[in-house]
C-alpha cells in the first residue's frame, strides 16, 4: 500500500470512480450544450439567458462545474505526481490547480445565480 494524502478520494479506487462518474456528467453536459448551440444557429440573448434562467439548467450546470472540478483535480493531480519529481514544484503546481479550480467554481456559481 502506497500512502498519499493529496489525492481526492483518499483511495485510488474512489479517485477512479469519481473520474468515471464526473466524466459521464461532463460528457452529457458537453453534448447538450454543443447540441443546443447547433440547433439554435440564430441564437439570441433572450433565448440563451432564458435557458440559464431555468432551475434545472442551473442545477445541471452546477453539477457539471462540480464534476469539472473533481475531474480536473484527479487528472491534474495524477499528472503532477507523474512528471513533477521535485516536492516543492509539485506542491506549488497542485496549489495553483486548486486555486484555479476554486476560482472557476466561484465564477461559475456567480454566473449562474449572480446578477
Amino acid at each position: 500500500m502506497v500512502t498519499n494524502i493529496t489525492n481526492l478520494g483518499r483511495s485510488g479506487l474512489s479517485d477512479w470512480l469519481i473520474q468515471r462518474v464526473s466524466a459521464l456528467v461532463l460528457a452529457v453536459y458537453a453534448l447538450f450544450v454543443v447540441g443546443y448551440l447547433l440547433f439554435h444557429p440564430n441564437l439570441d440573448y433572450a433565448t440563451w439567458s432564458g435557458l440559464f434562467a431555468q432551475t434545472w439548467m442551473r442545477i445541471f450546470s452546477l453539477l457539471a462545474f462540480i464534476s469539472m472540478a473533481a475531474h480536473a483535480w484527479v487528472g491534474l493531480w495524477t499528472i503532477s505526481t507523474d512528471y513533477l519529481k521535485h516536492t516543492g514544484a509539485r506542491f506549488g503546481f497542485q496549489a495553483v490547480v486548486i486555486l484555479a479550480i476554486f476560482v472557476f467554481l466561484v465564477w461559475g456559481v456567480q454566473v449562474l445565480w449572480g446578477a
Binding site: 468515471r20 440573448y45 465564477w107
Partner: protein, 125 residues
Amino acid sequence: MNSKRPVNLDLSTIHFPLPALTSITHRVTGVILFVGLIFGFWALDASLSSPEGFDAVRDALAHNVLAKLIAWGLLSALGFHFVAGIKHLLMDAGYGVDLEGGNRKAQITVVISAVLVVLAGVWVW
C-alpha cells in the same frame, strides 16, 4: 567508478504504438481543456451578463480570427478528449482489452476525432 548510473529514457528513441499516442494525447487535451476553461467561463459569463455582452461574444466568434482559432482548438480538444474518454470507459467495461482490440480502438479514436476536428472547424468558420 561512476556511481550515478544513467537511465535509458530518451523518448525519441522509443517506439510508441498508436494506443500509447492516443493515451498521451488524451492527457494533453485534458490540460488544454482545463486552461481553456478561462475562455469558456469568460464566454458564458459575458454572454449571460447582458445583450451587449452576448453580442460581444457572438461578434468575436464571428469575426475575430484569434477567437475562432481558440474556439476551434478547444472544440477539437474536447472532441478528442470525449472520444478517447469513451474508449477508456469501454476498456473499463472490459471491451477490447487485447492487442488487436487496443489497436483498433485507437485507430477508431483517431478517425472519429479527426472527423470531429474538421466538423468543429466547419462550424466555427
